[in-house]
Amino acid sequence: MKRSFQEINEKIRRGKAVVLTAEEVAAMGKDHSPAEVAEKVDVVTTATFGPMCSSGMFINTGHANPPIRMERATLNGVPVFTGIAAVDLYIGATENHPENPAYGGAHIIEELIAGEDVELEAHAKGTDCYPLKDIKTTINRENINEMIMFNPRNAYQNYPVAVNTSNRIKYTYMGSLLPRLGNANFSTSGELSPLLNDPDMRTIGMGTRIFLGGTTGYISWYGTQFKTDAELNEHGVPVSNAATLAVIGDASKMSPEFIKAAYYEKYGVSMFVGIGVPIPVLDEEMAARLMIRNEQITTRILDYGDPDHPELGRTNYRELMSGEIELNQKKIKTASLSSIFQARKIADILKKQISEGIFLLTEPVEVFPKNKGLNSLDIR
């Protein structure tokens, strides 16, 4: 059984496409062969809702009269990037308020998406064409021009589990890690996760239409730190962080339900981003990939109690989702930093939209690189 994007879209338009979530197709895989799944199912929806630091939003505030070429600017006191044209700003999700480390760019983004007023303050040297030197005013979703979310690195394909063998609690971007292996935190939606369901990225590529923060968005590029040389397990999925996505979307249509500011104690601000990616069941091989179950997805357990983060062992997502893993003969409580509950909600919304014929699939304009490693930063 083979079908093209065009054939699937034709079925979607006619309201005849069979759409399942990745969890549903994983369950179906227990008593169906890949051939049977490929026969019955047209599209599988995948999703994730996790804290993704490499996120942010471009805004254009519109020009004041007289105009200003903003050189330094803050929103509710949080510095934003002004090194582009006069009134284009980039709000970095992790930028924090100088006096309040628990408040930052992600909060500004969430407030703007929610339609709230945000105070803008900007300064400039003044030029012949932009004479204004200082401005203080309020902006909101309705009175600015664009709100374009552009996240350079989201939706990591897989991510290691964090534990702590030291004698002190560690506050990290992987949450609070209790001393002496007191807990284990992970951050992937497992069998629901987009890139774990299409590990070779046959259907996920540049231009793929996705669910982003409550509206339609697009995959604009491969994400930063994208790599293809990670070790694979026997089911062909990387056992560690590997591929990533850069995504873009109209934030003025997003919902604060799917974009949430976060603060991790003694680490800083981050942002939960809701992403859903539909994957077409092009053939039997694609079906086999989509049937992957939590127990077939391996991930490494790293010790954040040691600055080198050595690997202490390996586990899989079924064990992680059970609430407990065993390491060094010790039972350790697990928790996810990404919300499976929210990811399921996104997968269901996307399923509904596709079933109703209002969300069509896009074939990648270009596929992602097949051979890409990573450089590290040498200190010279």
């Binding site: 609070s176 284990a184 949430k260 991790y264 409580k333 919300s339 509950f341 929210q342």
Partner: protein, 140 residues
């Protein structure tokens, strides 16, 4: 007879740690003791977080016995407030919650909060990325 239930932190001075205090409390005063957290090292001071329940007279007698042993008693008057309606069910709090007041349902993947199990250790306050927990100083 009225029943009484109290949550207390018992601080044992050096010297009392080796005595079978909980045994005496149960045997002589007929109170129920639920040990919620213990940090006792022989030869040093120890801390015990307990819930003591029983008939009012029994509990009061147990208190007099503990005071006689120079055990420092501090009732827990702190409680944790949880702004549950804003919760996104990530689970960051559940992995640090040792008394099991915050539990991730393995089926629905929803976070469940059982305040009766909470010992106000405050770890969830720092663990929650949405800062939905706060400490409440009430009167016990």
């Amino acid at each position: 007879m009225a029943r009484k239930k109290q949550r207390l932190v018992l601080r044992f001075p050096v010297g009392t740690v080796d005595e079978p205090i909980t045994y005496t409390l149960i045997k002589e005063y007929d109170v129920m003791i639920n040990i919620l957290n213990a940090d006792i090292t022989p030869g040093r001071e120890g801390n015990l977080l307990v819930e003591i329940s029983g008939e009012k007279d029994s509990v009061d007698g147990a208190m007099r016995y503990l005071k006689g042993k120079s055990v420092e008693i501090s009732p827990i008057i702190k409680t944790i407030l949880f702004n549950q309606s804003e919760c996104i069910h990530c689970g960051a709090c559940a992995s640090v919650c040792f008394p099991g007041a915050l539990i991730m349902d393995t089926e629905s993947r929803e976070l469940r909060f059982s305040p009766e199990n909470c010992v106000a250790c405050e770890l969830c306050i720092k663990a929650c990325p949405l800062q939905l927990f706060e400490l409440n100083f009430g009167v016990n």
